[in-house]
């Protein structure tokens, strides 16, 4: 049976099961509840929150009352700034973190010297660095990127290290037996062997990058989605807060989906295994 007809068959099966309808029902219930509590019944405390209708109207309005909608370039400006910051920080963290992690896992002496320092810094939540970051860097922009970077960097490094250490000893032995020199072992055993863990690390690192970016932007930003949330709060433009939150959620989800996708592409040997 061809892959396509199998796919159709599976889809049909799925549509026959209660899963998709329950999913839909769950989401509908959530939005309904939100709508009823805030806009219809206007329960105490809930009435202050923006309701789904007002958020949606604002979001798709050509002439939004608070200046943020899908037709406004500012909206994309904020998104772009946040994405750019995450990309810079995440990219830097990946390059440095993976390299450092690989070396730490590969060379015991190097690990002995670097690991304790990392272990001491690690329990400090990255957000506690905010004031220090602002102090250290001459520009706010740099401080925010630095914060975002720091969070990702630890996650990536530690997972890469874990990845190298989890490679079965027999692979190293087999490679040595076959006459591999240290550099071969590094490029042909250590790197591919640690790959699954590196990608797990990258997913975590992407999550924490967004986490600290929002905090950084709220405290010190002059642009970006986190800043938008905070600024709308101060200016009492509540629907915009929800728009920014949902946007953050979507972009955050999309970025980890991309990493997963790249991971599957790079590790055919693993994906084929599971199928």
């Amino acid at each position: 049976m061809s892959a396509i007809s199998l796919f159709f068959f599976r889809t049909k099966l799925w549509l026959k099961s209660p899963t998709p309808y329950l999913t839909l029902l769950g989401l509908t219930l959530l939005i309904l509840l939100w709508w009823l509590t805030t806009e219809v019944w206007q329960l105490p405390r809930f009435e202050k929150l923006p309701g789904p209708v007002s958020v949606f109207k604002e979001w798709v309005s050509k002439d939004p009352s608070y200046g943020i909608s899908i037709y406004m370039p500012e909206y994309y400006g904020h998104i772009w700034r946040s994405v750019l910051r995450v990309l810079q920080a995440f990219g830097l963290a990946t390059v440095l973190g993976v390299t450092l992690g690989l070396f730490m896992g590969w060379n015991k002496i190097f690990k002995d010297y670097t690991f304790p320092v990392m272990e001491i810094l690690r329990p400090i939540p990255m957000l506690a660095w905010v004031p220090l970051a602002i102090l250290m860097w001459p520009e706010r922009e740099m401080a925010i990127i630095y914060l975002t970077f720091l969070a990702s960097f630890f996650a990536t490094t530690l997972n890469t290290l874990l990845g190298v250490e989890s490679i079965d000893e027999s692979y190293f032995r087999a490679a040595r037996c076959l006459g591999a020199k240290e550099r071969h072992i590094f490029f042909r055993v250590v790197i591919p062997g640690a790959m699954p863990f590196i990608f797990t690390g990258l997913q975590i690192s992407m999550g924490v990058a967004w986490f600290s970016l929002v905090a950084g932007e709220m405290l010190a930003g002059e642009y970006g989605l986190g800043y938008l949330i905070w600024n709308s709060f101060i200016l009492v433009q509540y629907p915009v807060i929800v728009i920014a939150m949902v946007t953050l959620g979507v972009i955050g989800w999309a970025s980890s989906a991309i990493i997963r996708f790249v991971g599957t592409l790079l590790m055919k040997w693993q994906t084929r295994e599971s199928s």
Binding site: M1, S5, L6, F9, L13
Partner: protein, 293 residues
């Protein structure tokens, strides 16, 4: 079922435990993904005998044991114990799983008393005494307060045997219980098992893919066909009991072994022409090469 005699009581041959499997079939999946795993399978587990099922890996042995235990229901056919059809899992038919399914969060003793305890049979003291008696028998008395992960592979398997025995099942079903042990521990475990069996004479069903193990243990050897599995041949193994490892070097043993190999080989060739899954590829290869000679 509630008599208070020693559960491993020697020579208590009164029990029933005749299991009749008639024409059962089992499918998995639906539509184009539907696959037949068991096909019109009929055989009998005779009361007080040790029956061994042997077949190549992936031929549906585990599905068969799931059906007999009542975890799954057959699509057609009937399974009866002493004449009455089975309804779901029950303590009259206990399964000892591949690897072991001891609960890792309970100590040896807690694992052993689990069954009678949740059924609320007997008081705690009596139960523990009985459990300790059995544990003593398999040399695990000192390990009563250890967790399964602290035991060696062989000990875990013995603890598992005791956990089943204390329930006085009519039928014990062993699903490749010694798989994954090294060859030497495995042999010692087989000896332990055969000794327990020879003391109790419970109805036993033992599933394996090792021919040597099968013949060493069995009263009756049932050879399964390749997937979809059904019972192909029954060989009565008439080796003397009690058995020990000396029989492995006897002529009679060798005769049974060659006989069984012949049938397995034939089965493999048949499967080869059907071209079933990759799981049996090794097996097919092995026997097509034997035939090439």
């Amino acid at each position: 079922m509630n008599e208070h005699h020693n559960p491993a009581g020697s020579g208590s041959k009164m029990q029933g435990g005749q299991m009749q499997i008639s024409a059962i079939s089992k499918y998995f999946g639906i539509g184009p993904l539907r696959k037949q795993i068991i096909n019109d399978c009929t055989f009998t587990l005779e009361s007080g005998k040790l029956t061994v099922l042997i077949g190549p890996s992936g031929c549906g042995k585990t599905t068969l044991i799931n059906l007999l235990a009542g975890y799954e229901t057959p699509d057609s056919g009937t399974i009866t114990v002493d004449g009455s059809p089975i309804k779901g899992p029950g303590k009259d038919r206990l399964v000892v799983f591949q690897e072991t399914a001891l609960f890792p969060w309970m100590t040896t003793l807690q694992n052993v008393v689990y069954g009678p305890m949740v059924r609320g049979e007997k008081d705690k003291k009596e139960l523990e005494d009985e459990a300790m008696h059995l544990l003593h028998k398999v040399g695990l008395a000192e390990f009563r307060d250890k967790y399964p992960l602290q035991l060696s592979g062989g000990m875990q398997r013995r603890c598992e045997l005791v956990r089943a025995l204390i329930n006085r099942p009519k039928i014990m079903m062993m699903d490749e219980p010694f798989r994954g042990l090294d060859a030497m521990t495995r042999e010692l475990m087989q000896e332990y098992y055969v000794r327990l069996f020879e003391e109790n004479h419970l109805t036993n069903l033992f599933i394996t893919s090792e021919l040597e193990e099968a013949i060493f243990l069995a009263d009756r050897l049932i050879i399964l066909t390749n997937r979809p599995a059904s019972a192909r041949t029954v060989i009565e193994i008439d080796l003397p009991r009690p058995r020990d490892f000396k029989i492995l070097v006897t002529k009679e043993y060798l005769h049974y072994k060659q006989n069984a190999l012949e049938i397995l080989h034939e089965e493999a060739m048949k499967a080869f022409s059907v071209g079933s899954g990759a799981a049996v590829a090794d097996f097919l290869e092995a026997y097509s090469e034997v035939k090439a000679k």
